[in-house]
Amino acid sequence: MSHPIAIPARSVGRAVAAMLRRDRWALAGAVTIAVLGLAAVAADLLTAIEGQDPYSYRTEALDPRTGGPAGALGGVSGEHWFGVEPLTGRDLFAIVVHGARTSFLIGLAATLVSVVLGTLVGAAAGYRGGWVDRVVTWTADVFLGFPYLIFMIALGAVVPGHVSRPLLLVLVIGFFGWPSIARIVRAQVLTLKKRNFVSAARILGASPWQVFRTELLPNLWAPIIVVATLSIPGNIGLEAALSFLGVGIPPPTPSWGRTISTAVDWVSTEPMFLFFPGIALFLATWAFTVFGDGLRDALDPKTDVRR
């Protein structure tokens, strides 16, 4: 009798290392994440090397007749590596790397919120069962079908201006992300609960929290890591979408979504203005997705058969 989770418990770290050696796409994803992550962390350093920052207006880099960047390819030069923003002349490279910081921070923090929430709620539902389970499952279904984008736009308009926008985004995006994680954790707990080592702990009089900490959680890491990784690109995309719609990160903080939104108006004359932030957003979501897929293949024994 083969049980999906009775597979040898190799450590998550070792499984990931083995996966990266075998799966080229996942490796490409990991490298891209590392490059973008480094760029985000070292954004200040990188822009200092370039000699620019994302806030100063550089009208001298603009073509006075059109308001667009002076020079070919949106003004790409040794001084402005990705060119400049039309009308303002702000450095596009600085905007993109600082935007990476915003995107990663909000994407990761929101994912952390939904993972913590989803794991606790899902484990409680699976372990407790009964009415707890019914309430959680029902709520998750409602949340999954909820028109959250409209809700977030409305919320962005209603919440007073002095509330920190990044914090609001993290909480709202994270809050709407818990159901998918809760569902997976709940299903996993349901199968774990039937196994004797969980019974053994219960028979010994362990409290639900003790059972969760020592028996369930160590067996939940793999699926949690996989769903979390796969939900990061969605959250990054959501932040960009909200900023695109004007209810996300307020100016002047650089954000890919808002820059893309502005760039759309210039696409016929200055396509490079859309290209750089667009490709950054694409690379970030693509990288997390392929890396997450690789993780799933490596950590979820149910997919082992393919190899």
């Binding site: 049980h3 989770i5 009775a6 597979i7 040898p8 418990a9 196994r195 004797n196 080592f197 019974s199 053994a200 702990a201 219960r202 028979i203 010994l204 009089g205 362990a206 003790q210 020592t214 028996e215 160590p218 067996n219």
Partner: protein, 561 residues
């Protein structure tokens, strides 16, 4: 034997590592050949290679001649024609061998028509014939698999296997998933079919009792090699290879002769008869009244366990004295596990009391409830699932100590080492993970965890039934030694009468949620009073062809109305 029906010549199978190594055996028409071995011996893999049913990545070498044709050289098309037509297959788990969404008759008809051009009406006719051949009523064809019992399902699977009158039937552990009384029926059916259809049977099993019951010749395999083969009577009487000898020695068989008509029992109350301490019920729907002696460790009174409307256990009383081992015997669905669940607190009983040393566990709450949990140890059936796969062995053994004592650090480590030593494991295993251990080692870890708090009561739920024969014997010996040393009271649950005979002081027989018989182990197993116990005893095969023939006769007599 001029030309055998099936001849394997130096068959080797390898995945990454070799699993079968130059296996040669042959099978004459109409003969029953048993291939025995423990898990990992390569017995199943070898047989599966004949049908081309090995998973991808296997390399097979050698020759397998069926009526002179080498099965390994056949194309996919030819092999499909061989399967079902010339070779029939009976699987271990009848529940998974049938498709749950189709009626049994339709699945049979499909097999009939797959290899034969028949009209729907002819196929239906043949289905009815087949069902009667395997002893099922004709209207069983309208049933879905979930509406049939395990034994009936296995009969359907056998009917499928013989649908096209194959000359060879491969039966892979055909009775392992079945209760012992059902096993006896299925073995009888196989014997009967062999006589009527003249089919040869390749029987793959780990159960020496089944071999003694059914087979003409036996092949003993170990670690991918054939270590011995010969006629069953000869091999069992005088095994030449040391491994065969140790395998036969470690088989636990009932020592008592087949039960005879009981005598000397007196009716003590309506529907209840007794002979000294040995008590049984004579009318259905009753449970043996329990008379707990002075100060029992565990006393169940009027215990009822219900799942919705279904009552798995109905108002039973049982007790276990200090240092006593009570063997609780019954087949699947008899309520054994429900009783264990009620005692361990995993299941809330619908009625009745569970008293541990006078304290009713069903009424305790909070701290008191937790404290009392530390006085009960549990050993589970499946060692693979009873240990947390992501916890080290030391962590698993220490779990009860962490919950119930203040031992920490070096003292805790010392106690864990003591416990590992007590169950015969080296302390060097402490940082290992469960998947690095063998089944027997894992079960020892489970036992170490169960005795960690020096419990008053130990519940052992089929602790050896998932283990190989040779491991089983050693674990039972360990268990007995520990019980003698620590003197815990023990509720030992098992479907295997021979195991119970070895360990239990007293036996309680459970049938459909009621205790139908209790008494000293020797009395109950040698001279059972209740007809169900008699059937149970007669159905248990022993690993001795001559004695098994006698027992089979006794069993057949009991079957006759």
């Amino acid at each position: 034997m001029s030309s055998p029906l099936l001849r394997l010549e130096d068959v080797s199978v390898a995945f990454d590592a070799p699993v079968a190594d130059e296996v040669s055996y042959s099978l004459a028409a109409g003969e029953v050949l048993a291939v025995v071995g423990e898990s990992g011996s390569g017995k199943t893999v070898t047989a599966m290679s004949l049908l081309g049913l090995l998973p991808g990545g296997a390399t097979v070498t050698g020759r397998a001649l069926l009526a002179g044709r080498d099965l390994f050289t056949l194309s996919g098309e030819q092999l499909r024609a061989v399967r079902g037509n010339e070779i029939g297959m009976v699987f271990q788990e009848p529940m998974t061998a049938l498709n749950p969404v189709f009626r049994v008759g339709d699945q049979l008809a499909e097999v009939v028509r797959a290899h034969d051009d028949r009209t729907a009406a002819q196929a239906r006719q043949r289905v009815v014939e087949l069902l009667s051949l395997v002893g099922l009523p004709a209207d069983a064809r309208r049933k879905y698999p979930h509406e049939l019992s395990g034994g009936q399902l296995q009969r359907v699977v056998i009917a499928m296997a013989v649908a096209n009158e194959p000359s060879l039937l491969i039966a892979d552990e055909p009775t392992t998933a079945l209760d012992v009384t059902v096993q006896a029926e299925v073995l009888e059916l196989l014997r009967d079919l062999r006589g009527r259809l003249g089919a040869a049977i390749l029987l793959i099993t780990h159960d020496m009792g089944v071999v003694a019951d059914l087979a003409d010749r036996v092949v003993v395999m170990r670690e991918g090699r054939v270590v011995e083969q010969g006629p069953v009577a000869e091999v069992f009487a005088a095994p030449r290879h040391e491994y065969t000898r140790s395998l036969l020695d470690s088989v636990i068989s009932l020592s008592a002769p087949p039960p005879a008509e009981p005598a000397g029992a007196v009716e003590i109350s309506p529907g209840v008869v007794a002979r000294g301490a040995h008590v049984a019920v004579t009318s259905p729907g009753l449970s043996v009244p329990d008379r707990p002696g002075e100060d029992p460790v565990l006393a169940l009174t009027g215990l009822t366990v219900a799942y919705g409307r279904f009552r798995a256990v109905e108002g039973i009383g049982l007790h276990i004295g200090r240092g006593e081992v009570l063997g609780l015997v019954g087949e699947s669905g008899s309520g054994k596990s429900s009783i264990a669940g009620a005692v361990t607190g995993l299941i809330k009983p619908a009625a009745g009391a569970v008293s541990l040393a006078g304290q009713d566990l069903t009424r305790l709450r909070g701290r008191a409830a937790k404290r009392v949990r530390g006085r009960i140890g549990v050993v589970f059936q499946d060692p693979a699932s009873s240990l947390n796969p992501r916890a080290t062995i030391a962590r698993s053994v220490a779990a009860p100590l962490l919950l119930h004592t203040s031992l920490r650090g070096a003292e805790l480590a010392r106690r864990v080492d003591e416990l590992l030593d007590a169950v015969g494991l080296s302390a060097s295993l402490r940082e290992r993970y469960p998947h690095e251990l063998s089944g027997g080692q894992r079960q020892r870890v489970g036992i170490a965890r169960a005795i960690a708090l020096d419990p008053e009561l130990l519940i052992a739920d089929e602790p050896t039934s998932a283990l190989d024969v040779s491991v089983q014997a050693r674990v039972l010996d360990l268990f007995r030694a520990l019980q003698a040393e620590l003197r815990f009271a023990c509720l030992f649950i098992s479907h295997d009468l021979a195991v119970v005979e070895r360990l239990a002081d007293r036996v309680a027989v459970l049938h459909r949620g009621r205790v139908v018989e209790t008494g000293p182990a020797g009395d109950v197993l040698a001279e059972p009073l209740h007809p169900y116990t008699r059937r149970l005893l007669a159905a248990a095969p022993v690993a001795d062809p001559a004695r098994q023939r006698e027992r089979r006769k006794a069993w057949l007599e009991l079957q006759a109305p």
